[in-house]
C-alpha cells in the first residue's frame, strides 16, 4: 500500500467535493489512482481524454506511482 496525495481540478474537483486528499492505495501506476478515485467519487469520465501529472511533471497513465507521490488529475482541457 502507498500513501498518495491526489489533487483534483475543474469538474473532478466538483465531483470529489474537495481540492485534494491523501489516500492509502494499492496502486502501481497513475491509471490505478485514476480508477480508484473515480470509483470513490462516482465520476464517469474515461481516462482517454484526461491527463495526469505526478509531482508537477506531466506523466502517462502507465507511469509508476511511488509512496509519497502527488498525483494531479486533469479532466479534458479547454483552454483558449
Amino acid at each position: 500500500m502507498k500513501t498518495i496525495t491526489v489533487r483534483y481540478f475543474a469538474v473532478f474537483r466538483e465531483h470529489a467535493g474537495l481540492d485534494e486528499e491523501t489516500l492509502t492505495l494499492d496502486a502501481q501506476s497513475a491509471v490505478d489512482v485514476f480508477v480508484a478515485t473515480r470509483d470513490r467519487h462516482g465520476s464517469a469520465e474515461p481516462s482517454g481524454h484526461c491527463k495526469v501529472a505526478i509531482n508537477d511533471v506531466m506523466a502517462d497513465w502507465d507511469s509508476p506511482v511511488n509512496d509519497g507521490d502527488t498525483v494531479l488529475l486533469f479532466p479534458p482541457v479547454a483552454g483558449g
Binding site: 481524454h49 482541457v77 483552454g79 483558449g80
Partner: protein
C-alpha cells in the same frame, strides 16, 4: 514567453514585445468570449488553470515553434477568472521575417495551447445552468 493572468489582456502592449527590425510579418490570434456555444446562450465564462504546468507546457510549445521556424518571436498570454462576452481569453502573437512562417507558427501555437495546457472553462448559461466545456478534440471547436 507565456504568462497566465487574471488582468485584462492588452494586445497592443503585447505586440510591441515582438518588434524586431528583421521581422516583416506579424500575426496574432485572440480567443474572444462569445455569447453562444453549441446552441446554448452563454452569459460569461470562468477559466481555471493549473499554473505551474500550464506555464511549463506553454514554454515547451513556444520552443517547439521557434525550433521549427527560425527567427521567430512568439508570445502568449492566457486569462483566468471570470470573463464577460467580448473579452479576450487568450492572445498569441508571433513575428518573423516572412508571413508563411508567421501564419503557420501562430496557428500551431494556439492549436497546441488548446489541447495541451491544463486550463478549463465553465460556461454560465442564460438559463441559470453552468457546465464545464469539454476539450476540443472531444467535441466542440472554439
Amino acid at each position: 514567453m507565456i504568462s497566465i493572468t487574471s488582468d485584462v489582456i492588452d494586445p497592443d502592449l503585447l505586440r510591441r514585445t515582438l518588434f524586431d527590425p528583421g521581422a516583416g510579418a506579424f500575426t496574432s490570434f485572440e480567443g474572444w468570449i462569445r455569447n453562444e456555444n453549441e446552441g446554448h446562450s452563454v452569459l460569461r465564462l470562468e477559466y481555471e488553470a493549473y499554473e505551474p504546468l500550464a506555464l511549463t507546457e506553454g514554454r515547451s510549445i513556444l520552443t517547439e515553434a521557434q525550433d521549427r521556424f527560425p527567427h521567430l518571436h512568439a508570445h502568449c498570454v492566457h486569462r483566468i477568472g471570470l470573463l464577460e462576452i467580448g473579452e479576450c481569453a487568450v492572445w498569441v502573437g508571433v513575428s518573423s521575417p516572412h508571413r508563411d512562417e508567421a501564419f503557420l507558427a501562430c496557428r500551431y501555437i494556439i492549436d497546441q495551447i488548446k489541447i495541451r495546457l491544463p486550463i478549463w472553462k465553465k460556461e454560465h448559461y442564460a438559463d441559470g445552468h453552468s457546465g464545464w466545456v469539454n476539450c476540443e478534440r472531444c467535441g466542440s471547436h472554439a
